[in-house]
């Protein structure tokens, strides 16, 4: 039913709410201000009232999370799922999220001094790690069966991870490929696009025709291709786009610019 953690934090929620109401009315609150969060009437001292309401809100959220995950208590979850046996002291699974969190912290520290984008990237990595780490920690002890634990975790996280990773992957490919294509000459861009398309087609054909071999190849070539693409994209971005020469369309009148609208844009090959 209600877990110990839920009872504790829900109790805190009640206590902070009561304290906020008392504080609000005793420091100048009127009408139903302290009850309606200031919608109808004053709440008294804003800072104290705000802190107490904030604490109440956080306690409520924590209590709901705890009751949803049964306090992360393996035996309680086992009872809920009618499992006969549960391992409460099982080893945690290997995870790379702690390292990602550490790199995120480092990036945030460096970015704080050097560049805001690096700082934001670091914060994003920390935030991502915390979510994944939390889910891993919960799922490790969800039941006594590691396979079920993994399935439980994937059931919650996969609907979020797959679209996010897919979107990021597409974004990185588009961004990196576009930087490369904009860096090389027009003719080379056609060649690059053609060769890459052919490689993707060939890889997909191999994967479909010989699944065993294909999987192994994808595992090896996939990361290599992704790395090459990202490195190429970064180098191309640093090098900049190829030079575009703006040719003005010839008109009979002298005031070409005003009358012709946008100038035609071509590029000069390298």
């Amino acid at each position: 039913m209600f877990t110990t953690g839920f009872k504790f934090f829900f109790g805190l929620f009640g206590a902070f709410t009561a304290a906020a109401l008392v504080y609000g009315y005793t420091t100048g609150g009127n009408h139903v201000g302290p009850i309606s969060l200031g919608w109808k009437g004053g709440v008294g001292d804003h800072i104290g009232y705000g802190v107490l309401v904030g604490l109440a809100f956080v306690s409520l959220i924590v209590s709901l999370v705890l009751v949803s995950f049964r306090d992360a208590d393996a035996s309680a979850q086992a009872r809920l799922q009618n499992l006969a046996e549960v391992l409460t002291d099982q080893p945690v699974a290997a995870s790379f999220w702690p390292v990602v969190a550490a790199f995120g912290l480092g990036a945030a520290a460096v970015g704080l001094v050097l560049h805001p984008m690096v700082f934001v990237l670091g914060l994003a990595l920390i935030f991502l790690s915390l979510i994944e780490w939390t889910m891993d920690a919960w799922s490790d002890r969800a039941t006594g069966d590691r396979a079920i634990n993994r399935e439980l975790r994937n059931r919650i996280m996969a609907p979020i991870e797959i679209p996010v990773v897919g979107t990021l992957g597409v974004a990185v490919v588009v961004l990196a490929a576009s930087r490369i294509l904009l860096n090389v000459s027009k003719l080379e861009a056609v060649w690059v696009a053609g060769v890459v398309s052919a490689l993707i087609l060939g890889g997909a054909w191999l994967y479909a025709s010989r699944p065993g071999l294909g999987r192994r190849l994808v595992r090896i070539l996939g990361p290599v291709a992704a790395l090459l693409l990202v490195v190429g994209g970064v180098l191309a971005a640093v090098a900049g786009e190829r030079e575009f020469v703006h040719h003005e369309v010839e008109h009979h009148s002298d005031d070409t610019h005003e009358e012709s609208g946008e100038p035609a844009v071509t590029e000069e090959g390298h």
């Binding site: 002291d89 099982q90 080893p91 945690v92 699974a93 290997a94 995870s95 790379f96 999220w97 702690p98 390292v99 969190a101 550490a102 790199f103 912290l105 480092g106 520290a109 460096v110 704080l112 001094v113 050097l114 780490w133 891993d136 920690a137 590691r146």
Partner: protein, 514 residues
């Protein structure tokens, strides 16, 4: 229940038996990553402990080389300006040497030992939060890289000739790297403390916990009460440095940044990294002579007392006039009282030897030699610390400060080597005795020379103040300091060599199972 009767002690003894294969922890047997992925994904705290130990020894060798160069700069052979390209650079390296030995060498070395040994001692399969332990190592390493790189790029903890624009950025990075290192160490300490408190085997009370585990619990508490003060210092300094005018405690034309943080490497805070030394000494000697104390609770009290006297967050004197704090009764009492637990430890060790087996092999074993050397150096440091707070001797703000520092650092390093020999199978693998003994002798001799030379320099210094301590002084004593620094560097090289060769043997044993 006594310590000798605990099943943990038996299992530990079995694990340490000569030639026995390293025991596989539950984490190692269940889906543990292998190969290159291992350091990035491991779920076994013992692996993380090994990473801490080897990396800290490597960084220790680097710091010792810097120390030797600084000592060379004290002699007449080379002027500091020529050695590092200016007095400011010399100051940068001078501070890096001190901070490195505390935050990048001794503390992580002992933390790494704890991550590998403590779970086995308290009967747990792994530490309480293995992922946090991994995050602790990588955060520490990345913080260390940021810190060192920024110092080499012109940062550091202040500048003697004023902070310029570029230096300001590099210094901000140094501060953030330092903060990251401290946070990482705190995270590791929380992991160890939680393991001792929550994961003890059924029936083992805190009074039954082996001395090393108890000392690490005390150490974690001391760090948790002291190191956040340093983080607060760093936040204040950062706000000043970035020109926000939020606090404005520091003066950019002076080494004020260093003066706000130097309490970390001075007594009593410097003793915080020596608390585990007492635990290692008791454990190593007990194991060497195969004896247990008749009064284990006395050991816990002694270690706890030393931890209490190592609380140092209160002792920073930047925000008050130095004489208000350092001539105060509490500071003097802390300095004098620190000798008591070290002397009591010597007494406890004597009792263990009396009760144990006194064969020549046991008395001259590597752990015994290491424990003896570490205790002597810690005792010397505590004694100098006691002399330092006696006002008529006028040793405060002299090189006696660094005498204490060097004594504690050398004791911590030697205790680390002794621990590697004592719990070889739990840690890296069987360490070569010749290398371990060589490391202990070199570190002991080097540390002893540094303690002695800095103490005598403290007595004869005329106008001591910060950098002047390192650049003036008696020529002969400066030569002794150089020899001591070289011996410490050689000792660390021997320890690192022993650790790496032990790891190689372990890897071979794992890849070729019987």
């Amino acid at each position: 229940m006594t310590l000798t009767e605990s099943p943990v002690a038996e299992s530990e003894a079995a694990a340490d038996a000569d030639g026995a294969a390293a025991p596989a922890s539950p984490a190692e047997t269940l889906g543990a990553p292998r190969g290159l992925a291992q350091p990035f994904m491991t779920n076994d705290a013992a692996q993380v402990g090994r990473l801490f130990v080897v990396t800290s020894l490597l960084l220790g060798l680097g710091a010792a080389v810097i120390g030797a160069l600084l000592s060379l700069g004290r002699t007449d052979a080379v002027a500091p300006d020529d050695l590092f390209g200016g007095l400011n650079s010399y100051f940068r390296m001078w501070t890096l040497y001190r901070v490195s030995f505390v935050l990048l060498v001794v503390m992580p070395l002992l933390l790494g030992l704890a991550l590998a040994v403590v779970p086995a001692q308290v009967g747990a399969g792994n530490v309480a939060f293995p992922r946090a332990a991994l995050a602790s190592f990588w955060s520490w390493l990345i913080g260390a890289v940021i810190m060192i790189a920024s110092v080499l790029a012109g940062g550091g903890w202040g500048a003697l000739d004023g902070v310029t624009g570029n230096e300001s950025d590099a210094m901000a990075l140094t501060l953030l790297g330092t903060g990251m290192v401290i946070v990482a160490l705190l995270l590791g300490a929380i992991v160890v403390a939680t393991t001792v408190i929550s994961l003890r085997q059924t029936g083992m009370s805190l009074l039954d916990v082996p001395p090393f585990s108890w000392s690490m619990l005390v150490t974690a508490v001391v760090w948790l009460f002291s190191l956040p003060v340093a983080i607060a210092n760093i936040v204040v300094i950062y706000a000043d440095l970035r020109g926000r005018q939020a606090v404005a405690f520091g003066r950019p034309e002076s080494p004020d940044i260093w003066l706000q943080l130097d309490w970390l490497v001075e007594q009593p805070a410097v003793y915080a990294m020596a608390v585990p030394v007492l635990g290692i000494v008791f454990s190593a000697v007990g194991k060497a002579v195969d004896a247990r104390s008749s009064r284990p609770e006395a050991i816990l009290i002694v270690v706890g007392l030393f931890g209490l006297l190592a609380m140092g967050g209160w002792s920073q004197d930047y925000f008050t006039a130095p004489q208000d704090l350092r001539d105060g009764l509490v500071y003097v009492a802390f300095g004098l009282a620190a000798v008591v637990p070290v002397v009591a430890t010597a007494g406890g060790v004597g009792e263990l030897v009396m009760r144990g087996s006194k064969t020549r092999d046991r008395l001259l074993s590597t752990p015994m030699l290491g424990a003896g050397a570490a205790l002597k150096l810690l005792g010397a440091a505590a004694l100098v610390g006691a002399l330092r707070v006696i006002e008529p001797l006028d040793l405060l703000e002299t090189s006696a400060t660094w005498s204490v520092f060097h004594g504690v650092v050398a004791a911590g390093l030697i205790a680390g080597v002794a621990a590697l020999a004592t719990w070889s199978q739990l840690l890296l693998g069987p360490i070569q005795q010749r290398l371990a003994v060589g490391a202990i002798v070199l570190l002991g001799a080097g540390g002893g020379l540094l303690v002695l030379a800095d103490l005598i320099s403290g007595f004869i210094a005329d106008d001591p103040d910060l950098m002047a301590l390192a650049l003036d002084g008696n020529a002969a004593l400066n030569g002794v300091v150089l020899i001591g620094s070289l011996l410490v560097a050689a000792g660390l090289a021997a320890a690192l060599l022993g650790a790496v060769s032990a790891l190689r043997q372990r890897a071979t044993a794992v890849s070729e199972p019987a």
